[in-house]
Symmetry: C2
Subunit: 345 residues, 2 copies
DNA sequence: GTTAGCACTCTCTTCGATAGAGTGCTAACC
DNA sequence: GGTTAGCACTCTATCGAAGAGAGTGCTAAC
């Protein structure tokens, strides 16, 4: 069956009405509200066709229609009108990033806040992965007679600390010397791909401090493997409870459970990492069973041409895709700018 | 009216039955299940008396009774039997703390996990406040030509980093020297009470690096004021949704909202900071309106004789107080031991 | 191809009846 | 005087029937 212009109009009307009302949409509503110039009966015929094509579903015989996952997909891909954010919203977003660009934690918190506040959906941000961005500096801060704190700083501004044992009575100057050597050889490398040459040279040059080199390497690989290495930040999770489809406690629990163990979401969110542009994943397209009633709107943000992390919105399938896509797009662009500037500085 | 022995037994039976079942308790249940040797009619008389005394409530005429806040209070204060954890549970808890005592983040995460897993209630931990425990060390890790990372380590193991601008082209040795001076003068002081003498001496000794001293002091006060300075950690928040009293989405939302903005909880949790022993706050006794259906079981943990933070369990008023108190007590003691050992080391 | 008309289906709400749980009161009992 | 059996009463929860309402699909006419 061909999807002619009128069918497309009808589908779009149904999707948008359902997005707005959360109620199955009947033929009369469409005919009256969207002024297609035909009678409800005609709309009914079209709806029957659209249902046959798998684009619409009927909760039960005497209810209206709701979009199927496939229907949403078609809507997002070809029917949805791209909207631009209002100048006011744009200004607000830019402003936030102009103020603070130093502390990465604050930066991401603000990003979450913007995403949530402008859309009322749950916001997810995948932070700069420590393993993918190059080491900038490794510092050793003396603590007690026999311990020091190792501080790792990456190009993207990620900072991590770990305790480290040092030979008792080692002089502070020696520690500084060691951190200089460590930094010199590891600088510019990414943690997931430390070069063997670099490691060999470290052992050579710091032969007297073998244990420190060993601990350092162990700590670095530990940081790589740890959760903080690619932290998932979540905000506005509760807004999902305002959506009528999650009034049911058990559905709500399933979604909120993902936030409790936020690692489950990491993969879903980072699925399109490295792909440019805004990605929309609808319902069953999500890997996670628990997300089958949700849609994810995500985009990778960049430092120059390197993917750094992901920003995303998670809402019900019945979400305002136009708005969500627009917001995610702007936030991604702005964030990419910020990160790209940092590396240039 | 006098609260004689039998009334106390009846009240205890009602509280415990209601805790277990979440259903209003009738006179027959009490008479049969708790073998007081009297008939339901007698129990009914006692119940009427207890209600008159404000210890019980009746949802409606033909339902059984439930404890009032005052009833719970009496139960917790004088009727509840203190229980000891099983040797197995004790062993498990000790074991966790024996393994890892270095990274404070991991330590607290494990504490949360223990609290949740043994009780199935929401767990809260107030981390070591940075302002209250003495500075151990301040380090400056060179980053770029004109920036460095300031690392603050406190006695309790709290670590914070902040970016800092340095005069362009400053030598690394100078930075190390500066951090040595900073550490020397600030060591042992707490951030909320930096001595004026120390600050004066810093400006004296580091006259050439006035801007660095200024920034350092600013950063330190910033850390004091920031959220991380006394971070609230939450775990197992969703378990509250398993409680029948929170099946209602709006009640659930109120509670979960507190987790979203976790700062709201800080004050409630730290209310008894510095008081030794386990504290129980029931229903309306809580400062927060949203906690009126909840009880909080909390205890301060210590580093020597100094209060460091708080561990707490948050559950429905109808919570298993015996278990909760026992768990919080053991966790507090163990955690205090760990922190006290750290300072000795 | 479009539309009016209509029978039909399904859900949701309302209402009344009923069962069940639990109470309070009274009168008898020890 | 405390205790208890008996009983009427109250309130809730559940179930089924009835009716309203929304929306459909089909048919026949335009």
């Amino acid at each position: 069956m061909k999807l002619d212009e009128r069918k497309r109009l009808v589908l779009r009307a149904i999707v948008e009405d359902y997005i707005a009302s959360a109620l199955p949409v009947g033929s009369r509503t469409i005919a009256r509200k969207y002024r297609l110039g035909v009678s409800p009966a005609t709309i009914r015929n079209e709806m029957a066709d659209l249902e046959e094509m798998g684009l619409l579903e009927q909760p039960h015989t005497s209810a209206g229609r709701i979009p199927s996952d496939k229907g949403y997909r078609l809507y997002v891909d070809t029917l949805m009108q791209r909207i631009n954010l209002s100048l006011d919203e744009l200004r607000q977003i830019r402003e936030i990033y102009e103020r603070r660009t130093q502390e990465i934690e604050a930066l991401i918190q603000e990003t979450i806040k913007v995403l949530c506040d402008t859309t009322n959906y749950m916001a997810l941000v995948l932070g700069p992965g420590v393993s993918a961005t190059p080491v900038k500096r490794i510092g050793l801060v003396p603590m007690t007679e026999k311990s020091a704190v190792l501080v790792l700083v990456t190009e993207a501004g990620f900072v991590a600390n770990r305790l480290l044992e040092v030979p008792e009575g080692i002089r502070e100057e020696d520690l500084y010397h060691i951190s200089g050597v460590l930094s010199h050889h590891l600088q510019g490398l990414t943690l997931d791909r430390l070069s063997l040459t670099a490691i060999r040279e470290l052992y050579n040059e710091l032969a007297r401090y073998r244990s420190i080199v060993e601990q350092t390497l162990e700590i670095l690989s530990g940081i790589c493997a740890s959760q903080e290495s690619e932290r998932v930040w979540v905000g506005g999770a509760l807004r999902i409870l305002d959506q009528p489809e999650f009034r049911d406690i058990d559905k709500a629990k399933a979604i909120l459970g993902l936030i409790e163990d936020v690692n489950l979401l990491r993969e879903s969110v980072s699925n399109f990492r490295g792909k440019s542009g805004v990605q929309v994943t609808i319902g069953v397209e999500n890997d996670l069973e628990d997300l089958k009633d949700c849609s994810l709107v995500s985009a990778t943000y960049w430092m120059g041409s390197k993917p750094v992390g992901t920003v995303a919105l998670l809402g019900p399938k019945r979400m305002n895709y136009s708005k969500a896509v627009a917001v995610v797009e702007v936030v991604e662009e702005t964030l990419s700018e910020v990160f790209t500037k940092v590396v240039g500085a």
